[in-house]
Amino acid sequence: MSLAKITSVTGRAVNVPGNDIDTDRIIPARFMKCVTFDGLGEYLFNDVRRQLDGTEKPHPLNEARFKGATILLSGANFGCGSSREHAPQAIAKYGFKAVIAESYAEIFFGNSTTLGLPCASAAREDIARIAAAVEANPQLEVVIDVTNQEVRFGGQKVKATFRESARDALINGRWDAIGELLDGRDAVKVTAAKLPYLVA
């Protein structure tokens, strides 16, 4: 299996501010009644974006000027709560290619990386600077440089870090571990043989 080397992501950005944005907020549980992930994008942030009758509430994702954005900006502890992969899947299916937030909940971070969705961590002030620039010009091109761990936008440059294992996985096309895990078949047998509870 050869995977794309994700060394950078370039696109327009949209800011969805707030700390502790949990996975129930990202994709409410009732939309998880599905047997495939297709179609989840439509319900991204549904309950903060829409009234019960489907009419739109004020939300950055509903603003025409931010349509087509591929980089999502947010606050601290993004993706906390449930382990549902439906959350990063909804973000990806909506069309986002990367997230820049202050910090992430662990399971969300891992799930996202496995999908090839880079989650960059940046300082709050720096995210605010990107958000301000995007607010002033929604067409602004934002570049997340995964290799050099920085974000470039409108002539400015801020630091954006990745956990080393994630950065390595993204830039070397190893973000989906399945191939490597399958390669370890023989080693798995050796470990399993030492664990009596695994005997059939």
Partner: protein
């Protein structure tokens, strides 16, 4: 002498297959639990890749999130729920996986079924596509909640890629006051350390309170480790653990039992093990605790007042308080006690076990749910239901005005017909009070122990169970 290690390190080492190119560990997962919500896509990915399930005999399935608790006959009223049920059945049949279907009499919430069947054992690794998998740590297992791609990885290889965790030992010593339960202990811990205080850590729960706890109490605490941001939580295995497991369907038998106990003991943390952090909590400082906000860390003792934005410790804290109070429609700085509720929910993988219903039944016997309050009691598994029914607890609860339901996740989340309506306020024994969690986008949740839910049910308000039921 090998150096002293914690249980986490021992289990991690015993299950390490190798180091991957990115520095992560390929970890063998001894037990894989699956349910209907997070597995269908993983089976789909497996098929796309032309792969088989690597160890079907170490994979166990149940159905919990979508099952209606008031309808046993299929097809279910919700065709989407039925489709998920059918999909799981098909996948288990095709890949030779044991499925605790409703007809088996062993169905229930995955985190109740594993321990109940004796599948959850000390010194093992467990994974499940569900965040509350940390529950199984109560047995001295290292148990991870994982995403669907990882479910696929475990199905295909019985391993997954992980980075090692740090270990924080949380000691709770002394004597809990009457009316203070395991639920209060974990709400207090999360309140103290914060909802992301556990990031990067596994929590080892220890101290005299945990030594004295039953397995069900230990499970309640480990269950909510994830709500404190910890990736896993565990209690070292001891005689209480072994006594619980002995005789269960999947527990070792005969001579194998003794060998297993000896092995399990060897996994317990060494007395001089080193920890990355140690936190000590005095049991007497823990009061019956309730949440007031929209995450499980926004909690106070029942006699405290809801915070006021003016007392916030930071800008973030202030914004958090304002947002939470607006959503919860609670007045700032006022007592939480006396707040009117409209729904009382007893159940979930946190507090849907026999002892939870026993404790409630003991006190609500002869009392009545307040007029206008909808109260439901939902056993966490068919076996819990049967145990309760044998003891007549279902009758006591029904006489008090609780609806006695069939096993499932029910009102813990919005994937089956049990849902809040509008901005109803629910006193809930579950584990998450996120916005919209219980099925209405404006629904409100206050987390508390089962007895506090009962106190709320009979008074129609958030109340101190110690006063309502003269607990002392």
């Amino acid at each position: 002498m090998p150096s002293a290690k914690s249980l986490f390190q021992k289990v991690w080492d015993a299950h390490t297959v190798r180091t991957l190119a990115n520095g992560q560990t390929q970890l063998l997962i001894g037990t894989h639990l699956i349910h209907e919500v997070t597995s269908p896509q993983a089976f789909g990915m497996l098929r796309d890749l032309g792969l088989k399930v690597s160890m079907p005999h170490r994979t166990f399935a149940t159905v919990d999130h979508i099952v209606p608790t008031d309808q046993l006959v299929e097809p279910y009223a919700d065709p989407l729920a039925q489709a998920m049920m059918d999909e799981l059945r098909k996948n288990c049949a095709q890949f030779g996986i044991t499925f605790f279907d409703r007809a088996s009499g062993k169905q229930g919430i995955v985190h109740i079924v594993g321990p109940e069947q004796g599948i959850t054992q000390p010194g093992t690794t467990i994974a499940c596509g569900d965040s509350h998998t940390s529950t199984h740590g109560a047995f001295g297992a290292i148990a991870f909640g994982i995403g669907t791609s990882q479910v696929r990885d475990v199905l295909a290889t019985q391993t997954m890629a992980l980075s090692a965790l740090k270990v924080r030992r949380i000691e709770v010593n002394g004597q809990l006051r009457p009316g203070v339960y395991a639920k209060d202990v974990i709400l207090h811990i999360i309140r103290t350390l914060g909802v992301n205080g556990g990031t990067g850590y596994a929590y080892e729960y220890a101290g005299s309170v945990f030594d004295g706890f039953t397995m069900e109490q230990r499970m309640t605490v480990c269950n909510m480790s994830i709500e404190g941001g910890a990736r896993a939580g565990y209690v070292n295995p001891d005689e209480t653990t072994f006594a619980y497991l002995q005789g269960r369907p999947y527990a070792p038998k005969g001579a194998e039992w003794d060998a297993a106990v000896a092995r399990w003991k060897s996994f317990a943390s060494d007395p001089d093990a080193k920890y990355d952090d140690v936190v000590k909590i005095d049991a007497v400082d823990i009061a019956p605790t309730v949440t007031w906000g929209i995450n499980p860390g926004q909690a106070i003792a029942i006699n405290e007042n809801v915070p006021h934005p003016d007392t916030a410790t930071s800008v973030d804290d202030k914004a958090g308080i304002i947002e939470a109070l607006a959503y919860m429609k609670l007045p700032a700085g006022e007592p939480i006690k006396g707040t009117k509720i409209s729904v009382a929910f007893l159940g979930s993988c946190t507090n849907g076990r026999l002892s939870d219903f026993q404790e409630v039944a003991k006190y609500v016997k002869g009392r009545k749910v307040a007029a206008g309050v909808k109260a439901i009691a939902v056993p966490g598994s068919q076996i819990v239901a049967l145990q309760c029914e044998k003891l007549g607890l279902d009758k006591i609860l029904a006489e008090a005005g609780f609806e006695w339901r069939a096993a499932g996740c029910s009102m813990c989340l919005a994937m089956n017909p049990d849902k809040l309506v509008g901005d109803q306020l629910c006193a809930s024994s579950s584990n998450r009070n996120f916005k919209g969690r219980q099925g209405s986008t404006t629904g409100r949740t206050i987390l508390m122990s089962p007895l506090m839910v009962a106190a709320a049910a009979v008074t129609g308000t958030v109340a101190d169970a110690r006063e309502v039921f003269s607990v002392n």
